[in-house]
């Protein structure tokens, strides 16, 4: 069956899709919002690790809806469930930790300021930090971000304080500050998309601990599920359709997008016509949707004249080290150590750009975020059992006991991931998901300069941990990737030959098609990007509404 035409159909209800739906509705447009996953109630966000983290509550099972993953152009694909974010209303903002960093001016002008390393596809963005500034403020204000502005190296220009004071932090934060002072670096409080007190009708944080990787039972986490989606629905202009998996964006004879065809919750094929189509399914899945939208006009996939849809994929350079502090040894010196306060709340951006004096030269680095281990006892049990050469029996029980007596402080890096011609998303026609659609196939071809930079950040993070004099310090990973942070598969730019989207995130060759998840970002930035995706979506919505009002769409 076919529905009657609406003004806009938005595919995806996460960080990119929800602001669009809300802002377009506020401008009076009629919007249908498609979301492949269910709409959970807050009561369904339990602390049950088996249900939430180890089954298909958030992510599909790898035999139902795999991603393919290979390293190198000739590598063999393996099935994985990596590179999904939550499949539910609110998308990745539901299970995020809510580390809400802004990008910094240098992120918008990497090529001009630092140069493009040979073998990378680094370019400047077609917009500047100043273009996003008012929208960063709008997001922080609208959804509720808790934090305090301090001065530190590479702090981005700000005009306003955070709308909410910082969340309570664990006393370990003071020790991080003290260690920073000792070694001459500048830890600063991490802003969080979590209400530190009741805000705009939503609850304040109850410090339940089950934050990152879990959904928020109190609604204090500022996911789009708890913030923008309810606002959008209140306008009366947005119809939310959960459990609807987009199959393709269809085009009319004149080459404009005319509808989205999707599989509804009953497994039936539906078509929703619209004057404007907005795609926001994550950088991997949006590329897949466009590449699967093939037609005589676009045999290689919709809006793919340049061949760049799916190219220049970037994640974030992930490194991690851990320091353990034995509770029994510190009863006198740190009696507060086993305080259950969940938030460490410290970041380090001293190395956002590496100084020219390093042997790596003046390269883009990134932020380092400090946190406690996540409250995931099954996962931790697996790590204890499989770590090193593995252990079971008495040895495993001893590991349990050491763990029980330890507080483990860790950091993760958000290192710039240099885009390359090789790291990309394609679709694999021979592997179909449970809907019968070709799945996304990811090829990783990392730039050789990435790993030394990530390692440099890890070493600086370890300097800080070491200055805290832990009982043990060990490196977990130095060459990983954070697959929840995705960018670049539909990079924006001014030249249709070298970009998929224009500066307003509108496809160069399909005038009524927009992409507003992380796909637009030609470079990854050195911070988690959820806030940036949301801010950009507000910006694009403004531009889209202007265009509609001036009769250009």
């Amino acid at each position: 069956m076919s529905f009657s035409e609406v003004d806009v159909v938005v595919v995806g209800s996460g960080a990119g899709g929800a602001p669009m739906a809300l802002q377009l509705a506020r401008a009076g447009l009629k919007v249908v919002l498609l979301e492949k996953g269910p709409r959970y109630s807050e009561a369904e966000f339990t602390h049950d690790e088996i249900a939430i983290s180890r089954r298909n509550f958030f992510m599909p099972l790898p035999w139902d809806e795999p991603h393919l993953w290979r390293v190198g152009q000739t590598g063999k694909y393996a099935r994985t469930n990596d590179a999904w974010t939550a499949n539910c209303v609110g998308g990745g903002t539901v299970h995020m930790s809510g580390f809400f960093y802004r990008l910094k001016p240098v992120d918008f002008r990497m090529k001009s300021m630092l140069g493009a390393p040979a073998g990378s596809t680094v370019v400047d963005w077609p917009i500047r930090y100043e273009d996003l500034l008012p929208y960063y403020e709008q997001v922080e204000e609208e959804i509720g971000v808790s934090g305090v502005v301090t001065n530190h190296p590479w702090a981005e220009p700000r005009r306003k304080p955070y709308p909410l004071p910082p969340l309570d932090e664990h006393p370990i934060a003071r020790e991080i500050d003290r260690a920073g002072k000792k070694i001459g670096v500048h830890p600063y409080p991490t802003a969080r998309a979590i209400n530190s007190r009741p805000y705009r009708g939503r609850a304040g944080c109850i410090y339940c601990v089950f934050c990152g990787s879990y959904g928020c039972e109190s609604g204090a986490k500022s996911s789009t599920h708890s913030t923008l989606i309810p606002l959008a629905l209140q306008t009366g202009k947005v119809e939310l359709r959960p459990r609807c998996m987009a199959r393709s964006v269809e085009v009319s004879a004149d080459g404009r997008a005319k509808s989205v065809v999707y599989i509804d919750e009953k497994g039936e094929l539906q078509e929703q016509p619209a004057r404007i189509v907005v795609v926001s399914c994550t950088a991997v899945e949006s590329a897949r949707l466009l590449l699967n939208s093939r037609s005589p006009r676009w045999p290689k996939g919709l809006a793919n004249d340049s061949g760049l849809v799916g190219k220049n994929l970037s994640f974030s350079g992930f490194g991690r080290s851990r320091a353990s502090f034995r509770i029994s040894k510190r009863k006198q010196s740190w009696p507060w150590l086993d305080d259950p306060a969940p938030f460490v709340q410290r970041s380090l951006s001293d190395h956002y750009v590496l100084p020219a004096s390093t042997k790596l030269g003046s390269r883009k680095g990134g932020a380092i975020g400090f946190l406690w281990e996540h409250p995931a006892p099954i996962s931790q049990g697996i790590v204890l059992a499989q770590g090193g050469r593995g252990a079971f029996g008495k040895e495993l029980k001893e590991r349990f006991h050491v763990f029980r007596d330890s507080k483990v402080l860790q950091f993760e890096t958000y290192a710039e991931w240099l885009p390359t011609a090789g790291t990309s998303v394609s679709v694999e026609d021979s592997v179909l998901d449970r809907y019968g659609l070709p799945v996304a196939a990811i090829t990783i071809d990392r730039h050789p300069a990435d790993l030394p930079v990530t390692r440099y950040l890890i070493e600086r993070g370890e300097d800080l941990l070491r200055a805290m004099e832990p009982d043990a310090l060990w490196r977990v990973t130095e060459a990983g990737e954070t697959t929840i942070l995705q960018h670049g598969t539909c990079r924006f730019g001014n030249d249709p030959a070298t970009s998929v989207l224009d500066r307003d995130c509108r496809a160069h060759t399909v005038p009524n098609l927009y992409v507003v998840d992380g796909s637009f970002m030609p470079t990854s930035g050195g911070n988690p990007n959820t806030l940036t995706i949301m801010a950009n979506s507000y910006r694009v919505a403004d531009r889209l509404v202007q265009r509609v009002k001036s009769g250009k769409l």
């Binding site: 049950d48 180890r54 059992a385």
Partner: protein, 214 residues
């Protein structure tokens, strides 16, 4: 203080920690996904082959022999000492129940295949069923599985077995393991230090997982 890998706490499993997945370093069943692709696809299995009327079972997913082997194996992984062991905590029942989840039929098929391999090896090497062997011999057999090369069926079974055992030890008690939350005591979880509120939280039914209202 050590810069390198300390004896304890240990370093991490190779596969699950190199990538930060959207759920904090938890690959589904820690790596099974990759292995499903690497191995030849699980052949669709006729359920009669394992749990047909010819075989005796009082369990949901496993035959009595498979169940007894599993119970003996998980008790070697987490043996009872002054604190409870895997059987005390309900791990075998949990695993049998989890494997009955319809969406986990792939896991069940692989798990049964691995358990059968362990049973065969016990018979072939020691001429007795696995549960009847001395603990040291059971440990030696399990070590063979644990130390098998990545990508082997034995290693895959070990990975799945550890994943399910940890779910049974440390998962929410509504699923049938971690009896009375006593598994959490083994690692200090939910004792006011790693959780400000009862980690059981509240429970609701949803797809893909057997839960009951708690």
């Amino acid at each position: 203080m050590s810069e390198t890998l300390p004896p304890t706490p240990p370093d991490v499993a190779p596969e699950e920690m190199t990538r930060r997945n959207f759920i904090e370093h938890v690959g589904f069943m820690s790596g099974t996904a990759l292995l499903y692709a690497a191995c030849k696809p699980s052949e669709p299995k006729k359920s009669e082959a394992t749990v047909g009327p010819a075989l005796e079972t009082s369990h949901r997913s496993l035959t009595n022999d498979e169940y007894d082997t599993l119970a003996a194996a998980v008790e070697r992984i987490c043996p009872r000492d002054e604190e409870p062991g895997a059987i005390d905590l309900g791990v075998p029942e949990y695993i049998d129940r989890a494997l009955a989840t319809p969406t986990l039929s792939h896991v069940r098929d692989d798990f049964v295949r691995g358990t059968e391999a362990l049973m065969r090896r016990a018979r072939a090497q020691h001429d007795r069923p696995f549960p009847a062997l001395a603990p040291e011999i059971q440990d030696a057999l399990l070590t063979e599985f644990k130390s098998s090369p990545a990508g082997s069926g034995e290693q895959h079974y070990w990975t799945v077995l550890i994943g399910l055992t940890m779910e049974g030890l440390f998962g929410d008690p509504v699923h049938g393991g971690n009896r009375a939350g006593r598994g959490w005591e083994l690692i200090g979880f939910g004792q006011g230090r790693r959780g400000c509120v009862d980690p059981s939280g509240h429970h609701h039914h949803h797809d893909g997982c057997e839960t009951r209202k708690g």
